[in-house]
């Protein structure tokens, strides 16, 4: 479903991502892990077309991100680190706008809107201005915007940040539910979360993928957290 071939991103002389190759199968949830500044967000932004890669390429559902960006963008839902919200819109009018620019067919709009609003627990706030909502609610509006066109591929950059424990649990079960029809890449710092909901985990460190395996294999002997710390301190000592 998702293939990344040797993606590289340079910022001037600094190489943020040094050749990332990954593959995610249909219906899989990939946990994308790594310490701060490892290149998680940069990789996701390249994949979604926010920034162009310096070299390398990626395909989503068989469409190349360079050759047919519009086809790719029709198939993805992306929740960036900062949810892209228009603060002076109400929740409902924002989501309606998102549906329009994501070209959700007219007949599906009403249904998709109710579905996303219910899924993300926004029923009570749908008529309020986004700018007046708390951080957790803003995050949920962002998430609703990402899933509203029912994309084949969902790319979530730290979706549970700023949410309370109950909401985190709700979002988790929602992600698991979505994975039946969608392919999901999820970046997070909460390792138990990955162990709980992901099928596969990839750890990126200093712009390189240092581990990519099925969760069951990784956690055979040690917990995910131990593996993560071990890899990062080992790689850190080498470089």
């Amino acid at each position: 479903m998702i293939q990344l071939h040797n993606l590289v991103k340079n910022y001037g002389h600094f190489q943020a991502v040094k050749g990332v190759s990954l593959e995610v199968q249909k219906g899989e949830i990939l946990g994308f892990l790594g310490p701060n500044g490892a290149g998680k967000t940069t990789t996701m932004r390249m994949l979604t077309g926010v920034i162009p890669p310096t070299s390398g390429t990626a395909t989503i559902d068989g469409f190349d991100i360079f050759d047919s960006p519009l086809h790719v963008k029709q198939r993805i839902g992306y929740l960036p680190e900062t949810p892209p919200l228009y603060f002076d819109f109400t929740v409902k009018s924002y989501l309606e706008f998102v549906m329009k620019i994501k070209q959700v067919p007219n007949v599906d709009r009403k249904q998709n809107l109710t579905w996303a609003i219910e899924k993300c627990g926004l029923v009570d706030v749908q008529k309020r201005l986004i700018g007046n909502l708390s951080k957790g609610y803003k995050q949920r509006v962002g998430l609703a915007g990402a899933i509203i066109n029912k994309p084949k591929v969902l790319i979530l950059d730290e979706p549970t940040v700023g949410l309370d424990p109950k909401q985190i649990r709700e979002i988790r079960s929602m992600i698991q539910e979505l994975s039946q029809e969608h392919t999901i890449i999820l970046s997070t710092h909460i390792l138990p979360e990955v162990a709980m909901i992901c099928d596969r985990a990839a750890i990126i460190y200093q712009g390189k993928i240092v581990m990519n395996d099925v969760i069951a294999n990784i956690t055979k002997e040690k917990s995910l957290e131990e593996v993560f710390i071990e890899i990062i301190s080992k790689e850190g000592a080498e470089s």
Partner: protein, 261 residues
């Protein structure tokens, strides 16, 4: 086309959702009303003076020298352009700058729309807002038509001139707000470029060469004065269109270097 319409709608909505639209509208109407009044007042003073002169000299031709179109309408319309010089930077400073600051550009970038559609949507949305802004000033002209009989032609071309000037300003504003996420910087850049187009003909009196022709050509006032007099010259239209296209092109190139496609 449908996407351009959706984006235009969103742009227009953003103007009217925030207090900016209403503040700008109030300032615009108050100032243009004031200028209309002062021009009208000057005209009526002169009318009274010339009427006395006519009786005194017994020469009815004197009053024919007064022209409502030239002395009131053309001046008031030019003053409306002048107000835009200050207001357009304020109207346009949000546009791309705010999207970049609030990170909402990531939503647009990851949606199945092209950069051309985004630019066209923003451009047309702003143009529509400016049109709505100047629409109420027609009431001032209507007053003149009610009490007198000025020529209609120059009024129409005059309004067209205002819209064309605003179109240049909008294109410059889009460009300025695409290069920075700081709204103040965007406003200042727009203002400086517009001011430059406005005042460059001040030095033209000092020269007498090819430079003079170039400067006269660049100056927006020269092209506007034709339209305010009721003359539509294709050269003027080409001038306005070429500036609009030039700055939209620059906007597109700036956005492309920032990874928009």
């Amino acid at each position: 086309m449908k996407m351009v319409y959706v984006l235009m709608q969103k742009e227009l909505k953003q103007f009217f959702i925030s207090p900016i639209a209403y503040v700008v509208m109030m300032i615009y109407l108050a100032l243009s009303g004031f200028f209309f009044f002062t021009n009208m007042e000057a005209f009526s003073q002169q009318y009274k003076y010339l009427k006395n002169m006519m009786q005194y000299l017994n020469n009815p031709d004197i009053l024919a020298r007064l022209n409502l179109n030239e002395m009131v309408i053309a001046r008031a319309l030019f003053n409306m352009v002048f107000i835009f010089l200050f207001l357009l930077p304020l109207i346009m400073m949000k546009s791309f700058a705010e999207e970049q600051k609030q990170k909402t550009d990531e939503l647009l970038k990851t949606s199945p729309i092209t950069l051309n559609q985004i630019i066209a949507g923003k451009y047309l949305g702003s143009l529509l807002f400016v049109t709505i802004l100047i629409l109420p000033t027609i009431a001032y002209q209507a007053l003149l038509f009610y009490y007198s009989s000025p020529e209609l032609g120059p009024v129409i071309t005059g309004y067209l001139g205002i819209l064309l000037f605003a179109s240049i300003g909008i294109a410059i504003g889009l460009f300025a707000s695409s290069i920075t996420e700081n709204q103040i910087i965007a406003a200042v850049i727009t203002f400086v470029i517009l001011l430059f187009l406005f005042i460059i003909n001040l030095i033209s009196h000092a020269q007498g060469s090819i430079l003079l022709d170039i400067i006269t050509y660049i100056s927006v006032a020269e092209h506007l004065s034709n339209m305010l007099r009721g003359v539509i010259d294709t050269r003027d239209l080409i001038y306005f269109l070429s500036f609009i296209i030039f700055f939209l092109f620059l906007t597109k190139k700036t956005m492309e270097t920032k990874g928009w496609r």
